[in-house]
């Protein structure tokens, strides 16, 4: 076991690697009464079998119906009785399970969450109930899910995991069997795929010990690795001429998705390669977002192990400001940010981090996301330093490399065509 103590101005953080392969970390939230526990499983909808799209998300749901030592949802009832709450979500790259409760309930949280992953017990009854719930979720998300999937296919290419909805396909979810769930969990709920992070009041060593004790009980991962993913990475858009010539990869240009959605949605999006580095991209997105905010546009982006995406989003009736979006993206790529814009980004980004670090659950989510990306749990503070060191030229270069208008996918979703462009049916 390796115990690492990192004492920093913002929060004391410790981490440890367990003999079974799981990694556990603890971080201080001064003055907090509660603790938060976040478990990251490096397995998501990208790992769905081709004919069972939506299986990972279904596993997330079924995981809340009980486990061997906390059957029938007892674990969540215990946590609620202690004044806590649980939640979970699925992405293309991960299943994440989160819980919050008063400090005294940490041993219970660690027990329930470790049991959920170490001793899952899906049954036919629980599967059937959650298949119905997932269908209700699909119906609720409706048009937004269709839009996200269409955009993903255009930006990443039809076979890319980020082109698929986490909700999967109705047929895939409906046909899933208990055996398939068990195989998926056996493949994914391995300790060597787990990162566990607890946040709460000091002493941090006690937080770490209580959580590590429980997660150390998980059976060790089998020696053999699970079979590799069937999907192969696509070339980055800026280098992707061969991909485009083959009809694969991003489909830049204008597209119209006939969709009964109000207000109409405009998306301008770029694929980001796996090699993209976070901090310059974060700065470029923030500066662009600040310039466009007054025009009703927002910037969203993500970066994962398989690349990522940056989007400009406009959701309002009336004229569609494509020319303005293009002009701002081009200006950033040519001239970069001003010194004032860079200073504003540094200050506000740090404050936004501090706002999240105030609360145990937000703190845990923030620190976990950067632990996964940067490889160490004290990454939040490391990013502050990286932001201070970043130059305007580096931001300009990131914009130039990733936000070329010729690579942009422009998708308008609404009941009537507004921008021209080819019409999409189910997808490109």
């Amino acid at each position: 076991m390796i115990v690492v103590l990192l004492s920093l101005a913002a929060a004391e953080t410790m981490h440890r690697a367990l003999p079974n392969g799981a990694r556990v970390a603890a971080s201080e939230v001064a003055g907090a009464r509660d603790v938060a526990l976040v478990v990251h499983v490096a397995c998501g909808s990208a790992d769905d079998p081709p004919d069972r799209r939506g299986l990972a998300h279904l596993v997330e749901h079924v995981a809340y119906t009980g486990s061997a030592h906390a059957p029938g949802g007892a674990g969540d009832a215990w946590i609620r009785a202690a004044g806590g709450e649980t939640s979970a979500w699925t992405t293309a790259d991960a299943l994440v399970f989160a819980a919050r409760a008063p400090r005294e309930a940490l041993p219970l949280l660690a027990y329930v969450e470790s049991d959920r992953l170490g001793w899952p017990t899906p049954t036919g009854t629980s599967l059937a109930a959650q298949q119905a719930v997932v269908e209700r979720e699909r119906a609720l998300r409706g048009a937004e899910a269709v839009l996200a999937a269409a955009l993903g296919r255009l930006v990443h290419g039809p076979d890319h995991p980020y082109a698929r909805s986490v909700l999967g396909e109705r047929s895939g979810v409906a046909r899933a069997t208990v055996d398939e769930l068990r195989r998926f969990t056996a493949r994914c709920f391995r300790p060597d795929r787990l990162r566990v992070l607890v946040t709460g009041p000091p002493p941090v060593a006690a937080l770490l010990e209580e959580v590590a004790t429980r997660f150390a009980e998980l059976p060790a991962s089998p020696r053999e690795e699970p079979p590799p993913l069937a999907w192969a990475p696509q070339p980055a858009n800026t280098d992707g001429a061969p991909a485009r010539e083959r009809g694969e990869g991003p489909r830049s240009g204008r597209w119209w998705l006939p969709l009964a959605v109000y207000p109409p949605h405009l998306r301008v999006a770029w694929a980001l390669p796996e090699s993209a580095t976070r901090i310059p991209l974060e700065a470029a997105a923030a500066v662009l977002g600040a310039r466009l905010e007054g025009r009703g546009a927002r910037v969203g982006w993500f970066l994962g192990p398989r690349g990522g995406r940056l989007e400009l989003r406009v959701e309002k009736p009336g004229p569609v400001p494509v020319a303005r979006l293009r002009a701002e993206a081009a200006a950033l790529a040519v001239r970069g940010p001003s010194a004032a814009e860079l200073a504003a980004w540094r200050g506000s980004a740090r404050t936004r981090d501090l706002v999240r670090l105030e609360v145990p659950l937000d703190h845990a989510e923030l620190r976990m996301s950067c632990w996964v990306e940067d490889g160490r749990p004290d990454c939040v503070e490391g990013r502050w330093a990286a932001r201070e060191a970043l130059s305007a030229d580096e931001v300009r270069d990131a914009a130039r490399r990733f936000l070329a208008w010729t690579d942009a996918v422009t998708l308008f979703a609404g009941p009537r065509r507004r921008l021209g462009g080819a019409a999409l049916s189910e997808g490109p």
């Binding site: 009464r33 119906t65 009785a81 004044g83 119906a139 207000p263 309002k316 105030e358 937000d362």
Partner: protein
């Protein structure tokens, strides 16, 4: 494959035998006491100041909130003017960002139906800068013509087409059915006739004629900060007006069916009258409401979501205005199962009314209350919100925390009585979906008194613009 399954099963069984039982849930942890200093800013009866000291906190928050509810009720300000004012102050905060963000200060602003709020958060050392940023937004001149033209055009576009959004239609229908008098006044949300001077006029009335609360949270001593805050905000000496959030519950069960052709799923909302903030019945009903619809482990979610697959989630809220309260339940159900869902909701509400919560449900609700927003133990913006909620009702700042003690005193018999009384009031049902589906479903579920609205009637109170 069978051998592998047997091996896996064996592994699970041996794992079950090796793990000790779960530790028992600990007793509920009491909230951290909220130490609030209260003062009046300035010499002329300025805003109330509530300061919460958090030693060692890296962040500080300062905000000022103006209660606009009474202004709208008195007809001094129109709804559209408040919308425009909120947008202008938001734009003003945005344009100040380049000067403030380097210090790590983020200013935000906005107006809703009840209040206008301008606040800032940033490092403790920059608290005075944050306060000045807030004051600067409040001191804004009339909006420039270029910004005004663009905003008004977008506002008119949005207002004209609001009836196309099923979510907006449903919310407006609920508001119109539950607050008919207030909704009649909100008909003045039409932005077409607005001019820039209307924004200035609205601002002056908000700043002059409403009560204001200044909240500061951080590692700061009142004595060193109060003079600065008095200089920034002491001039706002408006008086408190009556809270106009008085609902008009139906005298008998009533259904409003808003037609949204082809809609699937159907939006479902139930409302009924509940104890107000100062009512002796409030603590008991709070716990019953939590047992009924507080989170995914609550009774309605377990029955309708987990057991019957009728919905993705049942969400609820219990609002305690000063004079009266109400409870609201929201969910979406497939059109094909609407009758089943309505019957299931009625069945569960009646069961709760007859039997009350179980002992386990009551204890879970009590624990949940001690960890919820009333405990004011979370982020600074959550603390600020709890303080505002108490102040808005004319209650002392630690009212919600003090009430947590009342939760501890609620017995199972008390909870049963609270359920019987709290679920006796006639309910209002609002459905937004295809009328070919909602009308027969409502009737089949026993809703004999039903009124049909078109989408534009729900949004505008009349025809489409």
């Amino acid at each position: 494959m069978r051998l592998l399954a047997l091996l896996l099963a064996g592994a699970v069984v041996s794992g079950v035998a090796e793990r000790a039982a779960a530790p028992p849930p600990p007793p509920p942890a009491p909230p951290i006491p909220l130490d609030v200093e209260v003062a009046r800013l300035g010499d002329a009866g300025g805003p109330t100041l509530q300061l919460v000291r958090r030693p060692g906190a890296a962040l500080a928050r300062v905000e000022i909130v103006f209660l606009t509810d009474g202004l709208v009720a008195a007809g001094s300000v129109q709804g559209a003017e408040l919308d425009a004012l909120g947008a202008w102050w938001t734009e003003r905060a945005r344009t100040r960002a380049p000067a403030l963000d380097p210090a790590g200060v983020i200013v935000s602003a906005g107006c809703d139906a009840a209040a206008c709020r301008v606040g800032a958060v940033g490092p403790t050392a920059a608290l005075r800068i944050a306060a000045d940023g807030v004051a600067d937004v409040l001191a804004s001149d009339a909006p420039p013509l270029a910004w005004w033209s663009a905003w008004r055009r977008a506002a008119v576009d949005a207002w004209r087409t609001d009836w196309l959004s099923p979510a907006i239609v449903h919310e407006r229908a609920v508001a119109r059915a539950w607050f008919p008098a207030r909704s009649a006044r909100r008909r003045d949300a039409d932005p077409r006739a607005l001019r820039p001077m209307d924004v200035s006029r609205a601002a002056s009335r908000v700043l002059r004629d409403t009560a204001a609360l200044v909240t500061v949270i951080g590692d700061v001593a009142r004595a060193e900060l109060e003079p600065h805050l008095a200089a920034a905000f002491g001039r706002y000496t408006g008086a408190r007006r009556a809270d106009e959030r008085t609902p008009q519950p139906p005298a008998a069960p009533r259904a409003i069916l808003v037609d949204d052709p082809g809609a699937d799923p159907v939006a479902v909302t139930l409302l009924w009258a509940s104890p107000g903030a100062a009512s002796p019945g409030q603590p008991g009903w709070q716990l019953v409401a939590d047992a009924l619809v507080g989170g995914f482990a609550s009774r309605l979610n377990l029955r309708l979501r987990e057991e019957r697959g009728l919905t993705y989630a049942v969400r609820g809220s219990y609002v305690e205005a000063a004079a009266a309260g109400w409870t609201r339940i929201d969910t979406y159900v497939p059109a094909s199962r609407l009758t089943e869902a309505l019957l299931a909701l009625d069945e569960e509400l009646e069961r709760m009314r007859r039997e009350g919560p179980s002992a386990a449900e009551l204890e879970a609700a009590r624990s949940h209350a001690w960890s919820g927003p009333d405990a004011a133990i979370g982020a600074s913006h959550e603390v600020a919100r709890a303080l505002f909620a108490a102040w808005r009702h004319g209650l002392p700042p630690a009212y919600f925390q003090a009430r947590l003690g009342a939760y501890a005193a609620v017995t199972l018999d008390d909870a049963h009585r609270a359920a019987a009384e709290g679920l006796a009031a006639p309910r209002l049902l609002v459905l937004t979906g295809d009328s070919d589906v909602t009308l027969p479903a409502a009737r089949a579920a026993g809703w004999t008194s039903a009124t049909s609205w078109e989408a534009c009637e729900a949004v505008y109170g009349g025809g489409c613009p």
